[in-house]
């Protein structure tokens, strides 16, 4: 089961936000999409989600996503924007339940499967305790987890998440990374099937520890693709982030800390 993007590119007027890109992503993988600000990560994610006009095609198991009807596509690819709005003060549980919209017929009440998916998603994101509270009364981090639960509740085989841990405290950063892993390996929810998770991340250490694969972007192109150790090398981080990293191992896991910003112009091409 593969999400394949074949020579997709996105242009904003004259500027190429994403250069022609071809990449194949497998179910069961937790993929980190990393890169400096303005590298095109969000735009690539939006192109994969079909939310922005792009060249080329994106296929899931051989079928172009553009050819699927809206509902099938919504059940196939779940997308979590970076800091999405919640326009009405719905209860947290009701926000999560919106993720079940593609599964529900017009006017239908929640099915037991819907309720189970909503509860599982809220457990995974540690949001059950404020299920009944209005999202407008939650902290930014709590709200971010509720919105992640909304995306998990779709139970789509593909989850595209834009900075899911950007607003979270350390405990919940670790916990959400664990949840994303669990979602990818299929150990959550009713159906246990491997799924694909692509998450835009800025914490390179967490990306290296939790992800199977890292896509490094810069200047609208994928400049590194592979296992974390290979992609997030000291040289790559210096070149593309203009940062001198501290790289070590702890508990036999990689530890990457951005240590010092490099002066402008040094070590770049």
């Amino acid at each position: 089961m593969t999400l394949a993007a074949v020579s997709i590119d996105v242009r904003y007027e004259a500027r190429a936000a994403v250069q022609p890109t071809t990449v194949a992503l497998e179910a069961g993988e937790l993929v980190a999409l990393v890169g400096p600000n303005g590298a095109g990560k969000s735009t690539l994610l939006r192109a994969l989600a079909g939310l922005v006009a792009h060249g080329g095609t994106v296929t899931w198991r051989g079928t172009p996503l553009a050819r699927l009807d809206g509902r099938t596509r919504a059940r196939t690819v779940a997308y979590l924007p970076q800091d999405p709005p919640v326009h009405w003060p719905l209860a947290a549980r009701e926000v999560v339940a919106l993720g079940r919209l593609p599964h529900r017929a017009y006017g239908a009440e929640h099915s037991p499967a819907d309720d189970a998916a909503v509860l599982a998603a809220m457990r995974q994101t540690d949001t059950v305790e404020f299920a009944a509270r209005s999202v407008h009364r939650l902290s930014v981090g709590e709200r971010a987890r509720v919105l992640l639960a909304r995306a998990l509740a779709v139970e789509a085989p593909v989850l595209l998440a834009d900075e899911p841990i950007g607003m979270l405290d350390p405990y919940h950063q670790l916990d959400v990374m664990r949840a994303l892993r669990a979602y990818a390996t299929g150990s959550t929810g009713e159906r246990s099937e491997p799924r694909l998770v692509v998450a835009v991340l800025h914490d390179l250490g967490l990306a290296a520890r939790f992800c199977d694969r890292v896509l490094l972007m810069n200047g609208g192109a994928i400049v590194g693709d592979g296992p974390p150790d290979a992609t997030l090398s000291s040289a790559a981080i210096r070149t593309h982030y203009r940062v001198e990293p501290f790289i070590a191992r702890h508990d036999d896991e990689p530890l990457i800390v951005p240590w010092r910003a490099l002066p402008n112009g040094s070590d770049s091409d």
Binding site: A74, R75, Y79, P85, V86, H87, W88, Y106, A131
Partner: protein, 333 residues
């Protein structure tokens, strides 16, 4: 989980049922109360008159109150959901003012008197033209801000042309007739008006109702709505097209009745847990109830010139609107 879902759905069902019962009761009261030069009258003034009074005076008036009030409530709720703004209402899109202009043009050329159905036909044409203009200005893929701005422009143009017609009115009497009609009223309507409005309102309601789940999805913004399989453009044109049809039909038979579409969804939003889709049916019923009660209240006033429905709803609605604005600015401060 399922237990708590049941908890929230029981009052939801009860709210709709309760509003439905209240609408029926208010409609019954509306059938029983009339008005003549001496103020309110009760009952039918004798069995001989009953048939005529019921069928030709009170039934059309009551039915139209339900249809028009319901339309305004429903469309107000849908527009607030679409624009994700509690201050939106049907007048915003220019459908009401376009319809009013169409009717005024009929008055101006003296066609309203010749055949009474030409007036509502003019209003429907005006509403559809306003929608077409909106569509042309905002485009097929227009964003919400463009639509609101286009609505303001259409409203301004329709108001200007209406003023022009008043300015050039052939006689003071004609100008007065136009003004009175624009105030909005349910008095002296016939079943013909019901038959004229209904074919516009029904498809309008259905279009708006078809947008229900799309409105829920829009709660999380346009990107999330798209990713949930509900293209915002589709939701948008369902709501706008439906509103233009239904409100066009309403204005065609009653003139402009404001604020029902603003006030009703607001009063009910909290009791449906803020869900845009769950607000639609209760808002229809609430709008019908408000229009019925306002129209009954008009008939109960002491003797004198009958107040127009649009005047009453504006008198009630404008302070409410002010209250909303002040409360929302207090919350932001």
């Amino acid at each position: 989980m399922s237990g708590s879902t049941a908890e929230t759905s029981a009052p939801r069902w009860m709210l709709t049922a309760g509003l439905g019962v209240l609408v029926l009761v208010a409609a019954g009261v509306s059938l029983l109360i009339g008005r003549d030069g001496g103020g309110p009258t009760f009952g039918f003034g004798g069995p001989a008159l009953m048939d005529v009074i019921l069928k030709e005076i009170r039934l059309p008036r009551t039915l139209l109150a339900v249809l028009v009030g319901g339309t305004l409530g429903l469309c107000g709720a849908a527009l607030q959901g679409l624009l994700r703004n509690p201050l939106a209402e049907p007048g915003l899109l220019g459908a009401s003012s376009g319809a009013a202009l169409g009717a005024v043009i009929m008055f101006y050329f003296g066609l309203a008197g010749a055949a009474s159905l030409l007036l509502p036909l003019g209003a429907v044409m005006g509403s559809l033209l306003a929608l077409a203009a909106l569509y042309a200005l905002a485009g097929r893929r227009g964003d919400f801000l463009t639509i609101v701005l286009a609505g303001i422009a259409i409203n301004a143009l329709a108001a200007a042309l209406t003023s022009l017609a008043l300015n050039f009115a052939p006689s003071p009497y004609a100008a007065l007739e136009i003004l009175f009609w624009m105030l909005g009223s349910l008095a002296d309507r016939s079943l013909a008006h019901v038959y004229l409005a209904l074919p516009l309102m029904l498809p309008g309601w259905l279009l708006v109702a078809a947008a229900a789940r799309g409105l829920d999805a829009l709660t999380l913004g346009e990107d999330t709505a798209s990713s949930l399989g509900f293209a915002p453009q589709r939701t948008q044109w369902l709501v706008i097209g439906g509103t233009a049809l239904a409100v066009g039909g309403a204005v065609a038979v009653t003139g402009v009745v404001g604020f029902v579409g603003l006030v009703v969804p607001h009063l009910l939003r909290r009791s449906v847990g803020q869900h845009p889709s769950r607000l639609l049916l209760p808002s229809f019923l609430g709008g019908a109830l408000l229009a019925l009660l306002a129209d009954v209240a008009i008939r109960l006033l002491p003797p004198g010139p009958e107040l127009k429905l649009g005047v009453v709803t504006a008198l009630l609605g404008a302070p409410f609107f002010l209250h909303l604005v002040m409360r929302s600015s207090a919350r932001e401060a």
